[in-house]
Symmetry: C2
Subunit: 400 residues, 2 copies
């Protein structure tokens, strides 16, 4: 998937692999993320140092991240350096060595990364929330794995995961910037032809993960006692899947409820009562599942009042929805944010890659703006009454 | 200061006020940052809600930050919304009410913000490092203040700070994007004419803070025991001022030493030994002072080895400098990064604002690339021998 962006000198490229932490068994927890690290460690023709040097030498941005449903390897470079970036990515994706020595060295790095996340109250509370809400499923487990699962993973396990999961039908390559489509196709075809990677000409993209109805979440409360200065909490309920037609209405609802400094939550929690520095609402969507919720950190003495205010704002939204002014503002916020994001080749690349990986339809800017224009007060209120009345999951992290 | 950027639909604006935490007496510690919060709370013609609504309604990015030497209020909007953004910023900067009620509500928000920073190991170790290195001066104090100083600040103190410091000669307005210079000047002149703010036609910009020689730093060690999973440490020494002509050589040295995944530190600490997930070098410059150093987080069992490796890499750099290949790569990294950053109107705006506020000369891209091209291996090695042999300051945060 490519998009030519007039007036820029850069190109952003992302390789999206449809494999993430939710594809792991409990014993393999953290394998997707471990593998992501190992792909930077070397191929028959490039050492780890040569991989990172190639991109550093041209000032490129170059990184990767692992999510629950996919893993993305991405770079942003000057247009003239795109052929090099494509070749490095193709080499990593199709011909990584995954040596036993590299597995051992990287195991230590990941154990340290897990310790770092464990020192971050925000990461701790969101992981706790996912563990409770998705309890008993692979969505409940932390993306990076646990110290225990990382210590137990073996080189053969990770290598098998690589060989069986990183196949051409599982991948989407997305490029946006000062590029020509057919040139990019030629570069990608060449870079990904190592090891007969593209030999099966009849291969079709893997089918997306779909379910007849969205997965349920587990309601209830979960507390973790940690000697932090703040109490961090996440309160949420089942939301909607990626393909739900009401997602544009959810965007507007989320913006107006807790998405900016004029939002209900920011005004009621921070501006009027000074209860917290950071408070926001969120909506997370997967192929067959989703969550909506509120995240807030506060001094322990104020945590109860914060929770009361958040709950009464949820109720108020269920009962009376948005005002006409809030609807217009939420719509404008989505519209302006979308147009501004188009100036960044990386944002455009990510949009292309996700849409293709999940086999969704790519909407033009005008189509998206049209969808936003159609949203009514009734749409938003019926959405709020549907979502915000669902059973609550609450995660709390802080001093006992 | 403006810059027309062809091919974009956005405009980024920043108001840079030459007042920061280093201008505070111990009793006023945190006043610059407190004031930054209060400027969002209202004017005779706009409530806090109206200020944030105006920018949210058009999807604008809108925020502020306080640094040691200046405070910046910034927005990024579609070009058509720039007149509104200029008017809101002009109103906030020249006519904020700073009511006693707002001071009390925002005091609580800032106390929570300080607690949040106190839960962030990275913030804790960098604050500890600055406290030790700049001990006894205003650069040593945390930008947000302390819980004690914030509790003690009064409305009259903050208001006096506002009235005496936020004057036209202390401000630079920088705009980059799809704009026309004379239109921006007209908008700014109008928006900042409230309260006779521009009445003194003979006013000249405040002189920059300059010193005959760079401020010294205090060597030594400082430890803070906190129940974190990781040990975080910052090791550094006196660096260079903003205007030092060797700053381009320092950029290349910093890139090659600890600025990317092909850098010495990343390779030796993470790739070869698996000792840490995050390790990097930094260079911070002020008008009359500067620091260079290394920051790293690791598991406690590995902290000593990490420190040994970092120290031996510092010594190796002093003794033999960079290889020719590393020099070229560092140069290319700076060059590419600079060209890529020009696609972001926000980066261009920040460059304009800082250069003007500090009364430096704005170099064209070609001039900067020329400076980079001139750097030799000898330049970098003599810089490393000068900087990295200076007395060390070490800050360590982690379990006892």
């Amino acid at each position: 998937m490519t998009e030519h962006v007039p007036g820029v000198r850069s190109a952003a490229i992302g390789v999206f692999v449809g494999v993430g932490s939710r594809d792991e068994t409990p014993a393999l927890n953290g394998a997707s993320h471990f593998l992501e690290h190992l792909l930077f460690k070397g191929t028959p023709t490039r050492t780890a140092m040569e991989i990172s040097s190639a991109l550093d030498a041209v000032g490129g941005e170059f990184n990767a991240y692992t999510a629950r449903e996919y893993t993305c390897y991405h770079a942003r470079v000057l247009d003239q350096d795109l052929p090099m970036a494509v070749d490095v990515l193709g080499d990593m994706l199709t011909a990584s060595l995954i040596t036993p020595e590299d597995v051992e060295a990287e195991r230590e790095v990941i154990l340290d990364e897990i310790a770092m996340h464990d020192d971050d109250p925000d990461d701790v509370v969101h992981n706790l929330f996912a563990a409770k809400a998705w309890g008993g499923t692979s969505l409940a487990r932390p993306i990076a794995g646990t110290a225990e699962s990382i210590r137990a993973l073996t080189r053969p396990q990770i290598n098998r995961y690589y060989k069986t999961r990183y196949t051409a039908p599982a991948m989407t390559v997305a490029v946006a910037g000062n590029i020509v489509h057919r040139d990019v196709v030629r570069l990608v075809r060449k870079a990904f032809s190592r090891n007969h990677f593209l030999a099966d000409h009849d291969a079709r993209p893997l089918p997306p993960r779909l379910a007849e109805k969205p997965r349920p979440t587990k309601p209830g409360e979960e507390h973790t006692s940690r000697p932090f200065e703040q109490v961090n909490l996440v309160l949420g309920m089942r939301g909607m899947t990626r393909s739900d037609p009401r997602r544009y209405a959810l965007g507007v609802l989320n913006a107006a409820f807790g998405g900016g400094s004029s939002s209900r939550l920011f005004q009621e929690v921070r501006e009027k009562r000074g209860l917290a520095y950071s408070v926001y609402s969120f909506a997370t969507s997967y192929s067959d599942a989703g969550m909506v919720g509120v995240a807030v950190g506060s001094l322990p003495s104020k945590a109860e009042e914060v929770l009361d205010v958040v709950r009464s704002e949820l109720t108020r939204m269920v009962e009376s929805g948005l005002t006409a002014e809030e609807l217009e503002r939420g719509r404008g916020q989505m519209r302006g944010g979308m147009v501004l994001s188009l100036e960044d080749t990386g944002s455009r690349m990510t949009r292309l890659g996700e849409v293709e990986l999940f086999q969704e339809r790519l909407l033009s800017l005008d189509e998206v703006l049209g969808r936003l224009d159609e949203i009514t007060l009734d749409d938003v209120q019926s959405l709020a009454s549907d979502l915000f009345k669902r059973p609550e999951t609450l995660a709390v992290v802080g001093p006992a």
